[in-house]
């Protein structure tokens, strides 16, 4: 019997909680978020507690991460963007570990929930808007008119740019959600084939499952990276307005 490949995305409330009409029940996704928080917190605390000038393995890894995020921030926002370092790094680690934990068979992939990725995406985009307005005031509306646009094209450019701006959080949210969902659907289908194929033919989809898992591991990293880079790019756009438009794509 073929299992429904969307079955792994179903949520079940273990502990129903309702606070003044707001449903905040505990389900697999919430539990996984807690695991992620605990894991990341413990790993990063261990990595940072050594504080040796010549780092150990875990400290090296953490420093690699710090340098990695720092590189992204410096590329997109410059030295001033370093005040976003804690936010960007936390975001990266949270998404990365949600993606990675989702690859453990039987676990839940938090980032395959559109509402989770959308919240991050809109929060990041909202932050960039707030920062842009705070830094540039009304001039921030100039983000809708790319530099060098002829005056007669402005009425055309504003709707186009408006759409491209609105597409930013949506694409950011959907990209992560769709990648995570699609990967797990494929894994589910292949595993379903393995189960229904039996010993004689079932090893073939099973081998594919293993290969796909390897691929998904890469995708987990890449999607976390893309999300982080785009976050920095959007924040950087709000920083520079038109200063560094080559980073906007």
């Amino acid at each position: 019997m073929q299992e429904n490949p969307l079955h792994p995305f179903e949520l079940h409330n273990f502990i129903p909680i309702e606070v003044s009409g707001l449903d905040i029940s505990i389900n697999q996704a919430v539990l996984t978020m807690w695991i992620v928080v605990a894991l990341v917190a413990v790993l990063m605390m261990m990595a940072s507690s050594a504080r040796r000038l010549v780092p150990g393995k875990l400290q090296s890894l953490a420093e690699l991460l710090v340098e990695f995020i720092r590189g992204i921030i410096l590329d997109t926002m410059g030295e001033r963007g370093m005040k976003f370092f804690p936010l960007v790094t936390t975001l990266f680690l949270f998404i990365l570990f949600c993606n990675l934990i989702g690859l453990v068979p039987g676990s839940y992939t938090v980032t395959s929930q559109i509402v989770v990725t959308a919240l991050f995406a809109f929060a990041v985009y909202g932050l960039s808007l707030v920062m842009g307005v705070a830094l540039h005031g009304a001039k921030f509306l100039g983000i809708l008119v790319p530099p060098g646009t002829p005056a007669w094209l402005v009425p055309l450019m504003i709707p186009i740019e408006l759409i491209s701006q609105l597409a930013r959080p949506i694409s950011l949210a959907v990209r992560l959600f769709a990648n995570m969902t699609a990967g797990h659907v494929i894994l589910g289908v292949l595993f379903g084939l393995t189960v229904s194929g039996g010993v004689l033919i079932g090893w073939l989809p099973f081998a594919f499952t293993i290969a796909m898992n390897g691929l998904e591991l890469g995708i987990a990293f890449i999607q976390a990276y893309i999300f982080t880079v785009l976050t920095c790019v959007y924040l950087g756009d709000a920083f520079h307005l038109h200063g560094h438009d080559e980073h906007a794509h």
Binding site: A41, M45, S48, T89, Q113, V115
Partner: protein
């Protein structure tokens, strides 16, 4: 798709905000500062080491230049000394030569003067002896007495003749 079942959204949004806030707080408070500090410290240490190396290098270069300058000064001094010594030797040699020449000149002059003196004395002697001899010969040849005036005139004539012949 189960992801679009909206009745889970409120709990997911709530717990996502709470989880992220907690993680952010923990990392912001405890993990990032030491990590960033270690990185900064290492950066500073490397920069310090490089600076120090640069300082040592420039110091060594300066010392080398100092020694080279000193060496050049010493060699110049030695050259000066050598030149002075050579000049002095040359001067001494010339002085010596001059003195020798002067001495030789003086000795030669002395000798010449002595010879001249001797010659004069000899001439004087010869002249007086000759006069006497001539008188004696004349007296015997003439066998007559002559007046004093005659004597004188004859003697003078003889002397003049003698002087002329001795000068030739």
């Amino acid at each position: 798709m189960p992801q679009f079942e909206t009745h889970f959204y409120s709990s997911l949004i709530f717990w996502e905000i709470v989880s992220f806030a907690i993680l952010f707080f923990i990392l912001y408070k405890y993990a990032f500062p030491p990590l960033l500090r270690v990185l900064e410290e290492r950066e500073r240490k490397i920069k310090d080491s490089l600076d120090e190396a640069e300082r040592h290098r420039s110091e060594a270069e300066r010392t080398l230049r100092e020694y080279e300058a000193k060496l050049a000064a010493v060699s110049k001094e030695a050259e000066t000394l050598l030149a002075a010594a050579r000049e002095r030797a040359q001067r001494l040699l010339e002085e010596n030569e001059q003195r020798m020449t002067a001495e030789a000149e003086r000795i030669k002059g002395d000798a010449l003067r002595e010879i001249e003196q001797e010659r004069r004395r000899a001439m004087q002697e010869i002249r007086s002896q000759t006069t006497e001899l001539a008188l004696m010969v004349a007296e015997q040849v003439l066998q007559r007495s002559l007046t004093d005036a005659d004597h004188r005139r004859l003697a003078d004539e003889a002397l003049a003749a003698l002087t002329r012949s001795s000068h030739q």
